[in-house]
């Protein structure tokens, strides 16, 4: 056996271990897009909240629809960019076991948080919704990070910390929301691009 052969074998083993246990088709560009959408959305939300011709119930409905629309746009964006990256790198783009596990680990805290936020809104505890969204989104990212690029956990930490500060301070909900979902995503996306995608 040649030395280079043994080295190749070890590298192949390492690649296969990473490829089979992690979802590697997520892309940094989609994170930047999600961040930009979130900043636009937070601006629209601000306009809705400050519009005095709207009744409270109308504002709630407008904000909830905006949130649902934003979620759909973001999921579509991430899906399309992942598909593009998978095609580019000749990776199979399909719902395999690893992808399912990642999605479930991501979705569980997010669904719990989502239901909690709806309950808060229905009971008119508006002040806490933004921090709950940030905290549960951060937990979801942290939870899913072991099934994808592990640095996603730092985006998770950032959102959790912002969420906690938000719930302690109050009155700056939109600002914290835009920082967490907007600015953090953009910074993470750029970092990700330079670390994993530049070549």
């Amino acid at each position: 056996m040649e030395k280079s052969e043994a080295l190749n074998t070890l590298n192949e083993i390492r690649d296969m271990m990473a490829k089979s246990s992690k979802v590697l088709s997520l892309s940094g560009t989609s994170s930047v897009f999600v961040g930009v959408f979130a900043i636009i959305a937070s601006h629209i939300a601000n306009c809705i909240l400050e519009n005095e011709s709207l009744a409270q119930s109308e504002k709630t409905i407008a904000l909830l629809s905006e949130g649902a629309l934003l979620l759909c746009i973001c999921i579509t964006t991430v899906f399309l960019f992942s598909k593009k990256k998978a095609n580019k790198n000749n990776m199979a783009f399909r719902l395999d076991q690893t992808t399912k596990q990642m999605l479930w680990h991501f979705a569980l805290p997010l669904m719990v948080g989502g239901i909690l936020c709806l309950a808060l809104v229905m009971n008119a505890f508006y002040g806490l919704t933004s921090s709950m969204m940030l905290i549960f989104y951060g937990l979801a990212l942290y939870n899913a990070s072991s099934y994808t690029y592990s640095n996603a956990k730092f985006l998770g930490y950032a959102n959790i910390i912002l969420g906690l500060i938000d719930c302690a301070t109050g009155n700056h909900a939109i600002l914290f929301w835009a920082l967490g979902f907007g600015v953090c995503h953009i910074i993470y996306g750029i970092f990700f691009y330079f670390k994993h995608e530049r070549n």
Partner: protein, 100 residues
């Protein structure tokens, strides 16, 4: 054969078997289709390699039905884990020795 090569496991000389073992080392279990896609193999090719690894007692398979479709999942056995680790160690020590 050189002494340091005696622990290099012949069963893992095929790239496909090495791939199967590596993937099963880091996953609790994997189904047939996932393994097939990961290793970019045909059904027949994967089946022959999983069969021989199973005969060696390195992996186990469980067959169940999802609706009407048969779905086979594989997992690594303790024996397989030990054999694979020994193989990795042998590769490593071979590299260390040939460095000097």
């Amino acid at each position: 054969m050189r002494d340091e090569l005696k622990n290099i496991n012949k069963a893992f000389e095929s790239k496909v078997r090495l791939g199967i073992m590596s993937a099963l080392m880091v996953n609790e279990e994997l189904d047939f289709v996932s393994l097939k896609t990961l290793l970019e193999l045909t059904d027949g090719n994967l089946a022959s390699h999983t069969k021989s690894l199973e005969e060696l007692g390195y992996i186990e398979s469980h067959k169940q039905f999802v609706g009407r479709k048969p779905n086979t999942t594989f997992n690594i056995t303790e024996r397989g884990k030990a054999a694979f680790e020994e193989h990795l160690n042998a590769l490593e020590s071979f590299l260390k020795l040939s460095r000097g």
